[in-house]
Symmetry: C2
Subunit: 372 residues, 2 copies
């Protein structure tokens, strides 16, 4: 059994106990869902049907791509269903021999008007659509990386470290002078190392823009790593999985507010990473960082971290909101990314990817604050 | 009245006749909707409420960004509603003085579970969510560009033309040799010309990959513009609006199937553009191209074109499917992009942006097939 088969089997095994006959996944423009890549290897644009008996059908926009990349019981062309998701569902229900009257679980992202149309076009089935359905089961599964995924993270973390080393060297040598220089250096470097793309738009924010959490636009022709604080937040996507790191570059004398902010972020980062271990509530880690900052009169305007995987932001949550009930477990890969921002002093953020292990944690990437 | 106020007024004026008291727009991770930028200037991450009386409230994730970029009656912070869209809607209903019992139109993309929760948390209102609601009104409005948008398209088309000239020169001089060379040249050039980003992932597909409609990954370290057919499909985003052009590079002798495909695409492109005029059904233009190709035994695996604007793909539709009922009108900006693909010969596609004028059309960008 390959990893895709194993994942589909695990998902299928949850269906009958939940009273479900079939689960539907959809990945399309406006509603991206890399769970289809997780369960089959198909990178995008498809519908996936998994029945309680374990059988699966992939309906792909591009069947040539599916033939080359997907591992699944059966591949069908979306054009064979007139590019209609409703007809594709009807077809899958028949092909998988789903008894009429049974429950079919739709993606939690299904728009309300589409839900009504699924019901209308397949009146003999009972369509379910909830935030606690198979969308959540898939998200929970994806939060705990399996052996294949851990191997991919070993590689992408190693590549990310090398790219960070090269960026630091390029900045120190004066070869990378603008936000665009740095961002485009990364774009080229990742392709020379067999990565697909960045995992999200690289944020390169020089001293004039580093006070924003998410600079807009994400990088420009403005100077980078000039006097003051500059932030570089990027991720590399390898075999679908993204890393996510943030470096801060400090140029010039570090005094006053800047000195205090950098020291606080370094301290918060160290204490947060040290707490990462199975059984620990991720909310408690985030609350600890909030406390370190608030003690000195600062507040962090974003969450402490998040899971990474086929998406840049996935489960588990790592933030101090009350609704965060996640308990860290072996196989979770999360970011720890404390940051502080000030309109005049600029911004500082330090972020690495941390694997939760059986006994504690392992820091996979090695970002740092760079002093110039 | 600035353009944003005018657009909001036009939308607000459609509400009462449709029996609606308030329209809701949402732009968030997983459900992007640049209609909020269209109506206010806020680039992303917000909820927008427009009441039938014309009043509007923007609930922004980043209020500093909103203060700098948004034109709207009132700005509120999403954190003030505990980052809950349900609470934000309740707040807006109160702040706008919406009488209980009235109809509130939700975005057509609202997931079914969220719809239920809106209803549950605001039982005194009647929530509507359909594909024919204000989401469609906004899409229809955005399809016809106003004076401000036309001015932006003059500029972005000019910049796109200059970047295409520079790419052609770089390829001819041998300075741009790989897919990454070309794609990263564009990324740098656009930022030096005050554009925000590309409008979508640049597709640079050398001869070994040009047969795919959408190359995956979109560009790699592989050779570009080597012997055979190479495709370059890109768009530049300026003040939110994207251009969309495709160049094909032909290197070496053009014989047999390649010669035939290139000639057919050039002919189809010319005939399609010549047909563009107000009152013409866009489906008829697409059917004409289908006929040109099928006469010689070819078929195009994608639509002939699409509207462009704040999204790379928007209304009007320009394809031969029966459900396309669009009639071209002054102010529409559409792509015309016939293409043919063969696993051995490679792919050829030619694409420009065409403005529909009062009397006919104007080709805004000047892509071409480049012979090396």
């Amino acid at each position: 059994m390959n990893a895709f088969q194993e994942r589909r089997k695990r998902l299928a095994d949850t269906l009958a106990p939940a009273g479900l006959a079939m689960a539907v996944f959809e990945d399309t423009e406006g509603r991206r869902d890399p769970s289809i890549r997780y369960f089959t290897g198909q990178p995008s644009d498809a519908l996936l049907f998994i029945a309680a008996n374990g059988k699966s059908i992939l309906v792909a926009w591009d069947v040539n791509m599916a033939a080359a990349m997907a591992s699944v019981d059966k591949i069908e062309a979306y054009t064979d269903f007139g590019r209609s998701p409703y007809k594709a569902v009807s077809g899958a229900l028949k092909a998988l021999g789903t008894p009429t009257g049974s429950k079919v679980d739709l993606p939690a992202a299904t728009p309300y008007p589409m839900y009504l149309r699924y019901v209308e076009e397949n009146p003999d089935y009972d369509f379910i659509c909830s935030e606690d359905g198979t969308s959540k089961t898939a998200a929970d599964m994806r939060a705990v990386k399996d052996a294949d995924e851990l191997a991919i993270y070993r590689t992408v973390s190693e590549i990310t470290d090398r790219v960070m080393d090269a960026v630091e060297m390029g900045v120190k040598k004066g070869e990378l002078r603008t936000e665009a220089d740095v961002a485009l250096f990364i774009e080229r470097a990742l392709r020379e190392r067999d990565c697909e793309s960045t995992g999200f738009d690289t944020i390169a924010a020089g001293p004039s823009r580093s006070f924003g959490i998410h600079a807009f636009p994400s990088y420009t022709a403005a100077p980078f790593a000039a006097e003051g604080l500059s932030i570089l937040d990027f991720g590399l996507k390898y075999k679908g999985y993204t890393s996510d790191v943030t470096m801060t570059f400090v140029r010039g004398s570090l005094t006053g507010k800047r000195e205090e902010m950098v020291a606080l972020v370094e301290r918060a980062y160290k204490e947060a990473v040290a707490m990462c271990a199975p059984g620990v509530k991720s909310r408690d880690v985030a609350l600890r960082v909030d406390a370190i900052f608030s003690e000195k009169g600062y507040a962090m305007p974003h969450g402490l971290g998040h899971g990474v995987g086929l998406e840049a932001h996935e489960m588990p949550a790592v933030r101090s909101r009350e609704d965060n009930t996640w308990v860290l477990a072996p196989g979770h890969i999360i970011t720890i990314e404390p940051g502080l921002y000030d309109p005049e002093a600029g911004g500082v953020r330090l972020e690495n990817d941390v694997l939760i292990t059986d006994k504690g944690h392992e820091v996979l990437t090695h970002s740092r604050i760079v002093y110039l």
